[in-house]
């Protein structure tokens, strides 16, 4: 039987506010335990929550960026459950009237093997504001658990997609696009190690052609794109095997163990919480007026989708390249500055995604930390364009730039990397090579194309890489006529 995978994602993004959602405590990461937990955060009796305008504004920014409906009146509810890192005994969240409903995100799923990369639109169900819980530390405190409430009350935007993804690759593409967007519009720092962007995946399988969904299991708290992919792949295999062996999948929450690469059951539906949601009487409905929404809209930067279209139009890059280049605002800004500096969009895209990205990856650096500036890369590409440098020489200049050896022209002069432009000098080398390789010449004349390439190689070698390959080709052809 052929199976189809169905995936929906719930992403918790930590909002980049200075203070918490319902108190004036700092949200800075890494403070000593409980030093950023106020009377409201630790739920002392008689305290009242006061909503942070900055958190609401983040949600508005997100809603506008995905073309969603912003609920002009939205409501906070209490989600009740007992856990030591939740001192109130309930989490303030939004159920019936979330701040954001609907909207969509364009994703590009990379090609697998020989196929083309594919563009898809994933619809969003909703995004709602809520508070984070504290942290439980299960290391040994004489058999007890340590509770740090610094994180309690940190504002989160929970973003829920429709179950529209059909493979782990699509789920990862969606998560990446969402990550790029929330960091792009400045509502989340995107730091996955620190838990600023946490993904829950709802996964089910069904026979191809069946319209009803299969029973889903929810994989909790995935904090890297690689784990997201691995966890879904494992879970899909497990569900298909279970069903093909005649078993049944029961609704459950599971955890992914990165060490074993497996998912395991956390709780089944029978033990699932009954959260007894109800509107929080401590908080009034939130009203978004049109002036406020318009003011927030005016502060939004050009969005990734608009920038992708512009990059394709203005710089002639492919849809896939445009997506890669808008992976982050820093990368997009870098590319655009380099492209403008040299006037060669396609070549700039190749260098940014090729040589530069490879060097950054190898050195484990972010684009913002690149030792080669966008102006320098632009200048380098301009020297390729005007014929001063071949691709090979340009890579040597790039190495110089990376090492901080100075500006492009200075490196070319200091290291003698100028492409040979004197045709007399080149002609002499060609003559020498032809005289030294009579066998190749004879073979070429007898019809062996390969022999020609060998001669080109010899000339390039003799010029120490400085000959212009196109010029060498022309000259050799002329001499061998």
């Amino acid at each position: 039987m052929k199976w189809e995978t169905v995936i929906g994602l719930e992403v918790h993004t930590q909002l980049a506010t200075k203070s918490k959602i319902f108190s004036g405590s700092s949200t800075a990461f890494g403070a000593a335990p409980n030093t950023q937990a106020s009377a409201v955060d630790i739920a002392l009796p008689g305290v009242l929550p006061v909503l942070n305008k900055g958190a609401v504004e983040c949600a508005i920014r997100f809603g506008l960026a995905i073309g969603a409906n912003l609920n002009r009146v939205n409501v906070f509810d209490r989600k009740n459950y007992f856990y030591p890192d939740l001192p109130k005994g309930y989490q303030i969240s939004q159920l019936a009237k979330p701040i954001v409903e609907g909207g969509a995100l364009k994703i590009i799923v990379p090609s697998t093997g020989s196929g083309q990369s594919e563009e898809r639109v994933i619809h969003l169900t909703r995004a709602h504001l809520e508070e984070d819980a504290g942290k439980s530390l299960h290391e040994d405190f004489h058999g007890m658990t340590g509770i740090d409430l610094n994180r309690a009350g940190t504002p989160l935007l929970e973003i829920v997609s429709e179950p529209e993804m059909r493979s782990s690759a699509e789920a990862v593409a969606y998560a990446r696009a969402l990550h790029a967007l929330v960091t792009w519009i400045g509502i989340c720092d995107g730091n996955m190690q620190e838990g600023s962007f946490r993904v829950d995946a709802n996964v089910s399988v069904r026979p191809v052609g069946q319209t009803e969904f299969g029973t889903r299991r929810e994989i909790k708290n995935l904090n890297s794109f690689r784990f997201l992919q691995q966890a879904i792949d494992y879970e899909v295999r497990w569900q298909i095997e279970t069903l093909e062996d005649g078993g049944r999948v029961t609704q459950a929450t599971v955890l992914f163990d990165p060490d074993t690469g497996e998912t395991r059951m956390m709780r089944s539906k029978e033990e699932a919480h009954d959260y007894r949601y109800f509107p929080d009487p401590d908080l009034l409905p939130v009203r978004l007026d049109e002036d406020w929404i318009a003011a927030v809209r005016a502060t939004l930067p050009e969005l990734p989708a608009a920038m992708q279209a512009r990059f394709q139009r203005d710089y002639g890059v492919s849809a896939y390249d445009a997506t890669v280049l808008t992976g982050s605002r820093a990368l997009a800004d870098y590319f655009e500055a380099a492209a403008k500096a040299c006037g060669q969009g396609k070549l700039a895209a190749n260098w940014v995604m090729g040589e530069l990205s490879a060097a950054l990856n190898k050195a484990e650096l972010d684009i913002a930390q690149s030792p080669v500036s966008s102006a320098q890369l632009g200048a380098l590409i301009a020297r390729i364009q005007d014929g001063t440098l071949s691709g090979k020489l340009a890579r040597q200049v790039f190495e110089g730039l990376w090492e901080g050896a100075g500006e492009v022209d200075a490196i070319i002069e200091a290291r003698g990397l100028r492409q040979m432009s004197d045709s007399g000098e080149l002609e002499k080398i060609v003559d020498d090579v032809l005289a030294a390789n009579p066998k190749s010449v004879e073979e070429f004349r007898a019809g062996k194309e390969k022999a020609f390439n060998a001669l080109v190689g010899q000339v390039m070698k003799a010029s120490r890489g400085k000959a212009n390959p196109a010029q060498v080709n022309d000259l050799l052809k002329a001499k061998l006529q």
Binding site: T17, K18, S19, S23, G24, S25, S26, A32, P33, N34, T35, Q36, A37, S38, A39, I42, L44, V50, L51, N52, K53, G54, A55, V56, V73, V75, N80, F82, Y83, P84, K97, S136, L137, H138, F141, H142, G143, M144, T145, G146, I147, D148, L149, M266, R267, D274, R276, P279, P281, L283, L284, P285, V286, R287
Partner: protein, 95 residues
């Protein structure tokens, strides 16, 4: 609508209240009498009335995003039963 003893036990468990069978039975009677009141309210036709999230027709005031709180954990932790390295200690919980 009325509650069974099992419903009462389940609600008690969700609220982490230990209940004996006798208490559950007594509570069942009391809770069921409240349902009479709820039934009377549910008899009112509310089809064209939007539910209210709050009893007052006012909207939430918002706070500027500014840090105003200082570190008072030492004072807060004087009433905690057990504390170590700034952490509140609680009986071991593993989900």
């Amino acid at each position: 609508m009325s509650l069974t003893p099992d419903d009462v036990k389940r609600i008690a468990r969700l609220a982490r209240i230990e209940t004996s069978d006798a208490e559950a039975q007594a509570t069942q009677v009391q809770l069921n009498s409240i349902f009479g009141l709820i039934a009377a309210m549910q008899a009112v036709d509310t089809r064209d009335i939007a539910p209210m999230a709050h009893a007052q027709e006012v909207t939430q005031r918002l706070r500027d995003d500014v840090v105003t709180e200082t570190d008072r954990h030492a004072a807060f932790q004087t009433i905690a039963p057990a504390v170590e390295n700034g952490l509140y200690l609680v009986p071991k919980v593993i989900e």
